[in-house]
Symmetry: C2
Subunit: 159 residues, 2 copies
DNA sequence: GACTCTTTACTCGGATAGACGGTGTCCGAGTTTTGGTGG
DNA sequence: CCACCAAAACTCGGACACCGTCTATCCGAGTAAAGAGTC
């Protein structure tokens, strides 16, 4: 089981956009330069965040991206779900109904099997933990030098 | 993010092996017939469980697989880790060090970034939930007719 | 009848091919700013 | 000086290769039970 790189990109970009709030909007290319990421592909992931209402995109010259709402109201689950998708990692194919279980009378498998229940419970715990942390929490726990560092580096890119 | 089908297969096969404890060992082919699964590929997944010490394989004629220890001592995390691997879903590529962060003095990024910490915390909650449930719990919560059903179907396969 | 050897049936481990999703790039369409042009 | 128009820069959305992983199969090697042959 593996999570795509887009999640890491998205979270760090959201952090950068939060630090650079007053310089917004930030174009994709500058954001990509900050982390040495492929610009076009990064844009695809940022568009996922726009679709989810986490970022807002400004078209035209001097356009770019900005946070669509306050960092306190952006949870990590929001970002993960926007980029990685909303369906569960474990997908039940109901193999208990195939083969031997095929001839059983209807109603035998009315209740979901324990395997699915257990897996769902685990994923729920995962989601709950992600939903409990916001972008603002990440900003608070980051190094105090992070905001200034980001602004300084960004200023050098535009200059 | 997606989990392979092998996890579902492995868990249901472990359940079946628990019900059929007195008929052990059960060959791969019979196990595959029970759920209409591709026999050779299923064997690969069962071998993963053997490597992890969850199942024991008996070679030779009338060989097959059996549980290597009591269902009370097999957690869902054991099965998932054996089949899906033990490394985390979120892999940190330290993109904060690339690009703008490349020229920073060593020691700037001594502490792991908050993104990794948050992700690890969520995955830990997931693992804890999986480790809290054993195969015996699944057996207890299954339909009371399940053991008999499984034994009856298996008897018909051998006959 | 007991022992040994061969056959058989199964597992084990690796090698291999195809399918699928994630990664990455490119291009055309739409939009807004910038800059020029004519009245 | 003002209004209008064209060019530039950017985002948006879709289409397209590439690559790694998952799915699935096959084959040779090893092992244990079953059966045949011999003493």
């Amino acid at each position: 089981m593996r999570m795509g790189e887009g999640v890491e990109w998205g979270l760090h970009c959201c952090l950068a956009l939060a630090w650079l709030e007053d310089e917004a909007p930030i174009p994709t290319g500058k954001l990509a330069e900050l982390f040495e990421l492929p610009p076009v592909y990064l844009k695809k992931r940022l568009q996922d965040l726009v679709r989810a209402g986490i970022l807002a995109s400004v078209p035209g010259v001097k356009g770019g991206f900005r946070l669509a709402r306050a960092p306190e109201r952006i949870t990590l689950l929001d970002v993960v779900a926007a980029i990685e998708g909303r369906d569960e990692a474990f997908r039940c194919n109901e193999i208990r109904r195939r083969g031997a279980g095929a001839e059983e009378p209807a109603g035998t498998f009315a209740k979901p099997c324990g395997v699915v229940i257990a897996m769902r419970r685990a994923e729920l715990a995962w989601r709950r933990e992600l939903a409990a942390q916001t972008l603002a929490d990440l900003m608070r726990e980051a190094a105090p030098s992070a905001p200034g560092r980001t602004r300084r580096h960004y200023a050098r890119l535009t200059g």
